[in-house]
């Protein structure tokens, strides 16, 4: 990655900017509100289960996962990681969690609750409530439990089941999943009502839920458009636009409009056959969390004609599902998040795969998005985003003739991911992609 200043090989998208702006703006808003005395809540990403509820309560929600990434990008993470080690947390735990432990140690034990000066974006003030979720990984609730030694705030752990793939289709199982997810969300509402001493506005909740579902439907359509050849939107754009949906940033109604603009811009781009990179030689998939700290390296790859057309399953909205027949907004939430969790189960079952979430979606996408190669980015301290990669690599290669390039990294320890090395490997990997292109041809695939 030379230092010389040249225009990025990845085309810009106008509609991307408002969506990206939501991140800082809503952060700003929260900061001001909290400064004005509003209580802060720390929450795990919970894929639209707890989000709409907290929004309906008008709570100012901060996401330690996200904030840890910001600390990493800002260069203060190392300090917090050391604090975490000193506190005795094993160094193999999630890098985001360790950053958060270090930060909280500093916040409570050293600063007596005052945000430390080095904290980027005004920091995260002490919360009145911790909202954990058991979707996708144990860390995301064990982590908050571990904060108990620093924070005098209760933890609520949202339940979203993780049934087996074939078991999911057994009689009664789906409804039992809906039931626990609904009850858990209901209990969460009761819990917050008790904590705040005020009732939730159910109409407001219903409205938010419907907007949220519509927003994600449009966002889903946006990503469907990326199947076009050449693909009009690069993963870097996806990562910029995704937080609005994932963290329910800003006003959902506005967000719907913003995603619609993006959809229109992409349709137009497709019409004049404009791809996200100057010359699309290779269509790439990316798994899982990106190396936030060296995103520039995607430009270097774009120079070589690498277009990243699909990525991070966990950041994608669920396959749209019609819930108009469901009147209770809480049950709607439950069914919707469950759709995120199990939306690909049917496809997985048909393919006799038990990795209904995380793993199998990539196999399906590789085919739908006509992917030439998969960029695997296993993270040493993030098990849940790395566990399935070996299986995906083997399945893609065996069943679809799609090769993978394997580059280790970490959420916060940047030294682990070496962009120079990545580029060296990329050069050789192009050979593999050419090789497998022919293999796929021989095997009668259409890409």
């Amino acid at each position: 990655m030379g230092a010389e200043k040249k225009p990025s090989a990845i085309n810009k998208l106008k509609a991307m900017y408002p969506l990206r702006a939501n991140v800082d703006e809503s952060y700003q808003k929260s900061q001001e509100a909290i400064a004005a005395g509003e209580p802060a809540v720390w929450s795990m990403v919970n894929w639209w289960q707890g989000g709409p509820v907290m929004k309906a309560f008008g709570l100012e929600v901060m996401h330690p996962e996200n904030y840890a990434a910001i600390c990493a990008a800002d260069g203060v993470a190392q300090k917090y990681l050391q604090e975490s080690d000193a506190a005795g947390f094993p160094s193999h735990l999630c890098g985001y969690a360790r950053t958060n432990y270090g930060y909280t140690h500093r916040l409570m034990r050293e600063m007596g609750g005052q945000v430390p000066e080095e904290a980027p974006l005004g920091g995260m003030p002490p919360p009145i409530l911790l909202v954990a979720s058991n979707i996708l990984c144990d860390a995301r609730f064990k982590w908050f439990q571990g904060l108990g030694r620093y924070l005098d705030a209760p933890v609520f752990t949202l339940e979203m089941p993780t049934p087996g793939v074939k078991e999911f289709f057994h009689e009664g199982v789906y409804e039992s999943c809906v039931k626990i997810a609904t009850e858990s969300t209901r209990e969460f509402i009761r819990f917050v009502e008790k904590l705040l001493g005020k009732k939730i506005d159910m109409d407001r909740l219903a409205e938010i839920v419907d907007d949220m579902i519509e927003m994600n439907r449009v966002w889903y359509e946006v990503n469907e458009l990326r199947k076009a050849i050449p693909s009009p939107m690069h993963s870097r754009h996806f990562w910029s636009c995704m937080p609005t949906s994932l963290y329910l940033l800003g006003d959902c109604k506005e967000a719907i409009g913003q995603y619609q603009d993006l959809r229109d811009e992409l349709s137009a781009a497709i019409a004049n056959n404009a791809g996200a990179v100057r010359e699309e030689k290779y269509r790439m998939g990316f798994a899982e969390l990106p190396p936030w700290h060296s995103l520039k390296f995607f430009d270097a790859l774009a120079e070589r004609g690498w277009n990243f057309v699909v990525e991070s399953w966990a950041y994608h909205p669920p396959i749209p599902i019609d819930l108009s027949h469901v009147s209770d907004p809480v049950e709607k939430i439950a069914r919707y998040t469950l759709q995120f969790q199990t939306g690909y189960y049917q496809f997985a079952k048909d393919a006799d795969s038990d990795l209904g979430y995380m793993g199998y979606p990539y196999v399906r996408w590789a085919k739908e998005f006509k992917v030439d190669g998969m960029f695997m980015h296993p993270l040493v301290t993030c098990r849940s985003s790395s566990t399935h990669l070996g299986y995906v690599r083997e399945t893609l290669e065996r069943d679809l003739g799609v090769p993978s390039v394997w580059l280790e990294g970490d959420t916060v320890d940047f030294t682990l991911f070496d962009p120079e090395d990545a580029l060296r490997k990329a050069e050789a990997f192009e050979d593999s992609m050419e090789h497998y292109r022919e293999e796929r041809e021989k095997a009668g695939f259409d890409w």
Binding site: Q82, D85, A86, A87, G88, P90, S91
Partner: protein, 279 residues
């Protein structure tokens, strides 16, 4: 009564004799070195000769260090960890964290109210041990003792990216050929080793006072690098090499008195015979 501690390290063999008042009576430090590996008994002979005490008058002898199992004339063996803790506490009763960087390993010790509470060790890889410095001093054709003073002159320390000592060797050579001043390279090397030792010890939590022992603690540049990495001042005993052996001698005394209390004193017929390695 005399109590002896023998610490057989990879590079140095150390022996310390204390009397019943815990006073140090005699100390010997010698190169272990391949050809000396079998000469632990010579070290003891020297130790005894210095104060002309016959071997029979040694009440209790504890061997430690990674060669400890091979000492036929010892009453017992104690892990180097316990011995280092005891030795360090002798010099600095207020110690909270001790880092011992030996020739072939590095240890982090967490000490709380006079007890070894927890510890970490690296003996798998030369990076982060004194060995790293030896190898690189070699490559730089600088005497080990000169590393410290030289590194203090560093203006802009280089970064040593390679973890592997052997590859780091090449890396610094190319740093030099790229024109980096030797002081900067040495400082970079100190920082690399310090970084690994500190990173390892952090897992225990750093509690002052922090004490640095082992041969490398004689290297002022390294001590500074550790302080740099820790953001904490570091204390170094006058003789940073003997803490293990001293601890062993003190342990010998403790064990002897515990045994007598229990009424199970068994004096050992002591004969200085060779210690063998890799049976």
């Amino acid at each position: 009564m005399y109590f002896v501690g023998l610490d057989i390290g990879s590079t140095m063999t150390k022996a310390v004799m204390v009397d019943d008042t815990r006073e140090i009576v005699s100390t010997v430090v010698q190169q272990t070195g391949p050809e000396h590996r079998r000469l632990a008994n010579k070290v003891i002979e020297q130790l005894l000769a210095e104060v002309s005490v016959p071997i029979e008058e040694v009440t209790f002898l504890v061997a430690t260090g990674y060669g400890r199992i091979n000492v036929p004339f010892a009453d017992t063996q104690t892990t180097e960890l316990t011995c280092h803790a005891k030795g360090v506490m002798y010099f600095f009763p207020s110690v909270g964290t001790a880092i011992d960087v030996g020739g072939q390993d590095a240890k982090g010790l967490r000490i709380r109210d006079g007890r070894l509470e927890n510890f970490v060790m690296n003996d798998k890889c030369a990076a982060g041990t004194g060995r790293f410095l030896e190898v690189l001093a070699d490559a730089l054709a600088v005497r080990l003792d000169d590393l410290g003073p030289l590194s203090l002159k560093a203006k802009d320390p280089v970064t040593v990216a390679s973890i592997c000592t052997i590859f780091a060797q090449q890396e610094i050579v190319s740093h030099l050929s790229a024109g980096a001043p030797i002081e900067d390279v040495i400082a970079g090397v100190h920082d690399a080793v310090a970084g690994r030792c500190v990173r390892m010890t952090r897992a225990l939590g750093i509690v002052p006072d922090v004490v640095l022992t082992g041969g490398v603690a004689k290297n002022i540049g390294f001590v500074r690098a550790v302080e740099e990495r820790l953001g904490e001042p570091v204390r170094v005993p006058e003789d940073s090499l003997i803490t293990g052996a001293l601890g062993a001698a003190l342990d010998a005394r403790d064990r002897y008195h515990r045994a007598t209390a229990k009424g199970e004193v068994k004096r050992k017929e002591r004969k200085l015979t060779e210690a063998k390695f890799y049976e």
